[in-house]
C-alpha cells in the first residue's frame, strides 16, 4: 500500500455516522429550486434524465412505427402518403439508433458505473451535464423538423446521392446531419466519463480482474464509441458541407472527383460497430442479472471479458458486409464474409457461459430473468438470419427486402430492448426504493414476446417473397396482405405491452413493495447503499475483496476515511491494482454546461441555414466556456447556501432489512 494511506481500527459511533451524513449531504446534494435542478452535476440526476428522455424518444419512435404498421396493414391503404411514410421510417430508425438505444445504454452506465466501482460521481461532472443537454438539443432538432413537415426522408443512413444537394433539395437532410453531430458529441462525452471513472476512481482493491462485468461492458463499449463516432460525425459533416449554400464542397460529387461509395464506407465503419455499441452494454445487463438470479457466481468471468474485447476488435472489421451489393472486390467480399462469421464465436462463448451459470445455479425465475430468457431466444434467431445474410449470394437476393428488416429488429430488439426491460425490472428498486409489480411484469413480458414475434417473424417470409423495405404500400395481387396484417396486429400487441410497463412504473413508484438496500441479494456495490442512493452515494467509500464485492466479504471489509466531507472529494486509485493513490476534488454544480449546450445547439441549428453560424456560434461557446473553467470548485452561491443552512434537514435513514419478496 502506498505511503500515506493508513490502515486503522477505528471506533465509529452512530452519532459520527449522522454527522458525516449531514456534512456529505450538504456538500453533494444540489441546490433546491429550478436553478439547482438545471445546474446539477450529480451523475444520478443526469442519468435519470437521460433514461427518461431516451424512453420518451422510444415512445415517439414507437408511435411512428405504429403509424407505419397501420398504413401497411392493408394493400393500397390511404392512411399516410408516400412523403410522410418516408419521413416516418427515417425518423423512426434515426430515433431508435441515435436518440434511444445508444443514449439509453450510456445512461444506465452513467448511473451505475460510479456506484458499482464505489465512488461518488463521474470524473468530469460538468462535462457530463453538458453531454445530456446537447443530446437533448439534438433530439429536439430532429423532431422540430418532423413537426414542421420537413423531417429527413432519406433513411436512417441517408445515403448519397439520394441525400446529396441534387436529389434532396431543401433542408430536410440537414436536420438529420446536424442532429448526428449533436448526439454524437454527447455519446463521446459519455464514453470519456465512463472510461476515466473506471480507470481512476475504482474502490480500493477492485483490481482489473475484479471489475464487475457490467462495468467491463461499459468500458469496452466506450472505447468503441471513441473510435466509431468520429466516422459518422465526419460523414454527416461532409454531407452537410456538400449541401450548404456557399460552402458546396464536393466530397460526394462524382462530377468533381468525389465519391458516393466513400460515404457508405465511412458510414458503415461507424454503423457496424454501432450495433455492438448497443449490444455490448446489453450483454453487461445479462451478465449482471444471470448470476443474481442463478444465485451463484458467474461461470467463465475471464472468457466473458475476453469475448467482449474480441467482439469490439472484430466489430471494426465487418463494415463492408453492408455493401455487398456494391462493387466490392471478390477477395474483399470473402474477407468480410469470413469476419462476419467469426464474430459469432465470441457471442457464442458468452451465451454458453450464461447457460452454464444458470445450469449450475438454482434459477429464481423473476421478471428480470424472464426478459433475459427472451433475449437469448430472440437474439439467437436474429443471429441465425445474420449468418445467412453474411453469405454474399443470399445477401444479394434479399438485400433491401423485409428479410433484412426482420433480421435487424431481431438483433436490435432481441439484443438490446429485451435485456433493457430486464434491467429496468432489476434496477428499478435501486432507483426508487420500490419494487415493480411481478404480475404486471409477467404480463408486460409475455405481451412483448408474443407481439414481437407476431410482428417480425412474418417479415422474413415477406422478404423472401420479394417485399422491399421502405415502400409505403403494395397492390393486393402480391398476396402480401395477410402477413402484413398479422405484423400490424403484432405491433398493436407490443403497444399494449409498453402501456403495461408504463402503468407498472406509475403504480409501483408510489405503491410498490419497499425494496430495501439489496432486494435481490445481488453482489455488486450499487446494492451496498440506500435505495435510492443518497446524493453522495456511500457514507464511507467501500473497499473490495473479491470479484463479487458483496458476496466475498466474509469479514466486513475496511472503509475509507479521511476524505473531506466539506469539499466534493473522492479517492483516485491506481489503474491496474486500484491501490489508493491520491485525493481528487471535483468541481461543483454550474449553469455553464447548459449555456454551452445552448450555444452549441443553436450553432448547429443555424448552421443548417447559413455557414456563418459556425464562427459566430464559436464565439458564444467561448463566452460560456470561460466562466465554466474560471469558476472554481464551488461557486459563491453554494458557499453562502451552506452557511445559511448549517445542517441538512435530512436524517440518515436506517438501513432497512431486505423486504420479503417471494
Amino acid at each position: 500500500m502506498k505511503a500515506g494511506a493508513v490502515a486503522r481500527e477505528a471506533v465509529i459511533s452512530a452519532e459520527e455516522d449522522q454527522r458525516v451524513h449531514r456534512e456529505l449531504d450538504l456538500t453533494w446534494r444540489r441546490r433546491p429550486g429550478l436553478l439547482g435542478w438545471l445546474e446539477t452535476t450529480n451523475h444520478k440526476d443526469i442519468a435519470i434524465r437521460y433514461i427518461i428522455t431516451a424512453f420518451i424518444f422510444f415512445l415517439l419512435a414507437g408511435i411512428l412505427a405504429a403509424l407505419m404498421r397501420i398504413q401497411l396493414a392493408f394493400p393500397e391503404n390511404h392512411f399516410i402518403g408516400p412523403d410522410l411514410y418516408n419521413q416516418f421510417f427515417t425518423v423512426h430508425g434515426t430515433t431508435m439508433m441515435f436518440l434511444f438505444a445508444v443514449p439509453m445504454m450510456e445512461a444506465i452506465g452513467l448511473y451505475f458505473v460510479p456506484l458499482m466501482v464505489g465512488t461518488r460521481n463521474v470524473s468530469f461532472p460538468r462535462l457530463n451535464a453538458f453531454g445530456y443537454y446537447v443530446y437533448l438539443a439534438g433530439g429536439i432538432l430532429l423532431y422540430a423538423g418532423l413537426f414542421l413537415n420537413i423531417g429527413p426522408d432519406t433513411g436512417w443512413f441517408s445515403y448519397v446521392p439520394l441525400a446529396g444537394p441534387q436529389f434532396s433539395p431543401g433542408k430536410r437532410v440537414d436536420f438529420w446531419a446536424q442532429m448526428i453531430t449533436l448526439t454524437e458529441i454527447a455519446a463521446l462525452v459519455g464514453a470519456v466519463e465512463i472510461i476515466t471513472t473506471v480507470f481512476k476512481q475504482r474502490a480500493v482493491g477492485m483490481s482489473l480482474n475484479r471489475i464487475p462485468l457490467f462495468v467491463w461492458a461499459m468500458v469496452v463499449q466506450s472505447f468503441m464509441v471513441i473510435f466509431a463516432m468520429p466516422a459518422v460525425m465526419l460523414a454527416s459533416s461532409y454531407l452537410a458541407a456538400d449541401r450548404l449554400a456557399h460552402v458546396n464542397t464536393h466530397f460526394f460529387n462524382p462530377a468533381e472527383g468525389g465519391d458516393a461509395l466513400l460515404y457508405q464506407h465511412i458510414f458503415w465503419f461507424f454503423g457496424h460497430p454501432e450495433v455492438y455499441i448497443i449490444f455490448i452494454p446489453a450483454t453487461g445487463f445479462v451478465s449482471t442479472i444471470i448470476p443474481t438470479f442463478a444465485r451463484r457466481k458467474i461461470f467463465g468471468y475471464t472468457p466473458l471479458v475476453l469475448a467482449l474485447i474480441t467482439t469490439a476488435f472484430i466489430g471494426f472489421g465487418l463494415w463492408v458486409h453492408h455493401m455487398f451489393a456494391t462493387p466490392v472486390p471478390d477477395l474483399g467480399q470473402s474477407f468480410f464474409t469470413a469476419a462476419s462469421m467469426i464474430i459469432a464465436i465470441p457471442s457464442g462463448i458468452q451465451i454458453f457461459c450464461w447457460i452454464a451459470t444458470l445450469w449450475g445455479g438454482k434459477p429464481w425465475l423473476k421478471t428480470p430473468l424472464l426478459w433475459v430468457g427472451g433475449f437469448v431466444l430472440i437474439f439467437v434467431l436474429g443471429g441465425l438470419s445474420g449468418i445467412m445474410l453474411a453469405s454474399v449470394p443470399i445477401d444479394l437476393q434479399v438485400h433491401d427486402t423485409y428479410f433484412v428488416v426482420a433480421h435487424f429488429h431481431y438483433v436490435l430488439i432481441g439484443g438490446a430492448v429485451f435485456p433493457l426491460f430486464g434491467a429496468f425490472y432489476y434496477w428499478f428498486p435501486k432507483w426508487t426504493g420500490r419494487m415493480l409489480s411481478e404480475s404486471l411484469g409477467q404480463l408486460n413480458f409475455w405481451l412483448f414476446f408474443i407481439g414481437f414475434n407476431l410482428t417480425f417473424f412474418p417479415m422474413h417470409t415477406l422478404g423472401l417473397h420479394g417485399m422491399t423495405r421502405r415502400i409505403y404500400t403494395y397492390v393486393p395481387e402480391t398476396g402480401w396482405g395477410q402477413m402484413n396484417l398479422l405484423a400490424s396486429i403484432g405491433a398493436g400487441v407490443i403497444g399494449l405491452s409498453v402501456l403495461t410497463f408504463i402503468t407498472n412504473v406509475l403504480i409501483s413508484r408510489k405503491r410498490g413493495a419497499l425494496a430495501g438496500d439489496n432486494p435481490w441479494g445481488a453482489s455488486t456495490l450499487e446494492w451496498a447503499t440506500l435505495s435510492p442512493p443518497p446524493s453522495y452515494n456511500f457514507l464511507y467509500l467501500p473497499t473490495v475483496h473479491g470479484r463479487d464485492a458483496l458476496w466475498d466479504q466474509a469479514v466486513i471489509s475496511p472503509v475509507i476515511t479521511g476524505l473531506s466531507t466539506e469539499k466534493r472529494e473522492v479517492l483516485n486509485t491506481t489503474m491496474l491494482e486500484a491501490a489508493p493513490d491520491h485525493r481528487y476534488e471535483m468541481v461543483g454544480d454550474s449553469i455553464y454546461p447548459l449555456l454551452l449546450a445552448l450555444a452549441v445547439g443553436l450553432t448547429f441549428t443555424c448552421g443548417i441555414f447559413n455557414a456563418w453560424a459556425f464562427p459566430i456560434g464559436a464565439l458564444f461557446a467561448l463566452l460560456a466556456l470561460i466562466p465554466w473553467f474560471w469558476s472554481g470548485t464551488e461557486t459563491k452561491k453554494q458557499q453562502t447556501d451552506k452557511a445559511d443552512k448549517p445542517q441538512s434537514a435530512l436524517d440518515l435513514p436506517p438501513s432497512f432489512a431486505p423486504s420479503e419478496i417471494t
Binding site: A7, E9, V11, S123, I195, P230, G258, D259, T561, R583
Partner: protein, 213 residues
C-alpha cells in the same frame, strides 16, 4: 451504539497528482484519441480521392493560365510547420517549469506558445491561399481544405486554453491544480505538433509522391 471498524485513512495522501495519474490527463488522452481517429479518416478520404483523378493534384483549370501541377506552396507551408513545432516546444518548457512550480517561467513559456500559436493561425490563412484552390473547386480541394481547417480548429482551441491559463495564473498564482492543467495543455500541444507532421507530409508531399498512378 458504536462499533469498531477497520478503516483506511487516506487523509495523508496528496490532494492531487500532476501527471498521468490524474483523471484530467486520462480525459485529455481520450479526447486526443477521438481527434486522431478523425484525422485518420480525413487522411483515408484524401487517399480515396486519389483514385478518382488522373493527375494529382488535379490541374487547376478555373484560372488563367492553367496550372497543370498546382501543388501547395511549400515555402509558407514549411514556415508554418516550424512555427507550429515551435509553439509545441515552448509548451514543453512550460511543462517542465510547472513541475518546479516556477511561476514566472510558466508564464513566459506559455506566453511564447500563445504568440507562436497566433502566428501559426495567421500563417494558416496564407497556407489556404497557397493551396492554389478554393475548397469548392473539386474533391481534392475539399479534402485539403478540410484537413487544414480541422487542424486550424485545434490551434485555436490550444491558444484559447493557454490564454485562459495565463490570465488565471497571473491573477491567482500557480497552485497544484493549475500546474496540472498546464501540463495537460502541454500534452494537447505536443499532439497538435505531432499530428501535424504526417498531415503536413501528406498535404505538401502527396502531390509529388502520389503524382504517378
Amino acid at each position: 451504539m458504536s462499533e469498531t471498524r477497520s478503516t483506511i485513512d487516506v487523509s495523508e495522501l496528496a490532494p492531487s497528482a500532476l501527471d498521468h495519474r490524474s483523471p484530467i490527463w486520462i480525459g485529455n488522452a481520450l479526447l486526443l484519441a477521438i481527434e486522431t481517429t478523425m484525422f485518420a479518416i480525413l487522411v483515408a478520404t484524401y487517399m480515396y480521392f486519389r483514385g478518382n483523378f488522373h493527375d494529382w493534384p488535379p490541374p487547376q483549370v478555373n484560372y488563367q493560365p492553367i496550372n497543370l501541377h498546382p501543388s501547395p506552396d511549400l515555402v509558407w507551408g514549411f514556415l508554418n510547420f516550424i512555427v507550429i513545432l515551435g509553439a509545441a516546444f515552448f509548451m514543453l518548457l512550460a511543462d517542465r517549469a510547472s513541475l518546479r512550480f516556477d511561476k514566472p517561467s510558466v508564464l513566459r513559456w506559455t506566453g511564447c506558445t500563445v504568440a507562436f500559436g497566433l502566428l501559426a493561425i495567421v500563417l494558416r490563412f496564407r497556407e489556404f491561399h497557397g493551396t492554389q484552390f478554393r475548397w469548392d473547386d473539386n474533391a481534392y480541394a475539399s479534402i485539403v481544405w478540410a484537413i487544414l481547417v480541422m487542424h486550424l480548429l485545434h490551434l485555436l482551441v490550444g491558444v484559447c486554453e493557454d490564454s485562459l491559463m495565463l490570465a488565471y495564473i497571473s491573477k491567482y498564482g500557480l497552485d497544484d491544480k493549475h500546474a496540472r492543467d498546464v501540463r495537460v495543455t502541454a500534452v494537447y500541444w505536443y499532439w497538435i505538433g505531432l499530428i501535424w507532421i504526417p498531415l503536413f507530409a501528406i498535404i505538401y508531399f502527396g502531390p509529388y509522391l502520389l503524382k504517378m498512378r
